[in-house]
Amino acid sequence: MTSDGSAERLSPALRTEALEQLLTERGLVDPDAMDRLITRYETNVGPLNGAKVVARAWTDPAYRRRLLDDGTAAIAELGFGGPQGECIVVVENTATTHNVVVCTLCSCYPWPVLGLPPSWYKDPAYRARIVREPRTVLSEMGLELPGDVQIIVRDSTSEVRWLVLPERPAGTEGLTEEQLVPLVTRDAMVGVAKVEAP
């Protein structure tokens, strides 16, 4: 720990500004490049990427096999990669098995396919409770699973980032890949929801 009482009373906004000034003066960060990076994460890197991966897997059995075999490589085929995407493992939800993702220690998250994590994913209550009582937490989040469905909680480690391949909903057999993409939600790819037919 590097803090003392007086330092802690300074707001994080002030400390952040101070740190950015010091790093900029040392040539370690370029504020304009940082602007571009932040804009990229605010506008381009998000769950739409993951939705494209899922829709491809639903419509292309060979791609689905590659995705489940080596998530990072299959996701890179669609042009998605970068920090927090070095080791993405994809797990498939079925009628009998339901995977749900958490990072109990910090909040690791597969940025290239889901963007940055929502606040509930980072919340101490979610991180602690989803491991102890997943069925209850999922129910509170609006997902009621039949009692015979096995729930597997996937806890991220320093290496693995999990992505859930949701079950394709019944009634979507006639839809194209492009039509399936908008149905796939971030929450379904974390495993706290199912994909609903339109």
Binding site: A13, A18, I38, T43, L48, P83, L116, V184
Partner: protein, 125 residues
């Protein structure tokens, strides 16, 4: 690559499911600094992550007090790895932040309450 982005539907980035990526501007700067410095090789992601885990664990072990702020821990972890690597010391950050705090009013809204909770615009004037 810049794929055409659908702006409707549940998968629409970046504010999918009605949520902002960053609640306050400083969070995005703290995020951007960590990613930039990692990409520049100033520290490893494993090192940063270990510092983040330590910060969060310390918060969870402490008696209830400071409200939860993920990016406050993120910033703390960033300061820890930079201090540990000899890049920027905590004292330097504190001194610069104190200097910034002495700017004429209108530059910040930090008057004595520093929790990054739900009321970022709440300032007693």
């Amino acid at each position: 690559m810049t794929a055409p982005l659908s702006v409707e539907g549940p998968a629409a980035p970046p504010r999918s499911n009605g949520e902002l990526v960053f609640a306050e501007p400083w969070e995005s700067r703290a995020f951007g600094m960590a990613v930039t410095l990692y990409e520049e090789g100033v520290f490893t992601w494993q090192g940063f992550q270990a510092a983040l885990i330590a910060r969060i664990a310390a918060w969870e072990a402490a008696p209830a007090g400071e409200c939860w702020s993920y990016y406050r821990h993120w910033l703390g972890a960033l300061e820890d790895v930079l201090a540990g690597g000899g890049t920027v010391s905590a004292g330097e950050v504190t001194a610069r932040a104190q200097a910034l705090a002495r700017r004429p009013t209108g530059h910040d809204h930090t008057h004595g309450h520093d929790h990054a909770h739900d009321h970022p615009d709440d300032h007693p004037h």
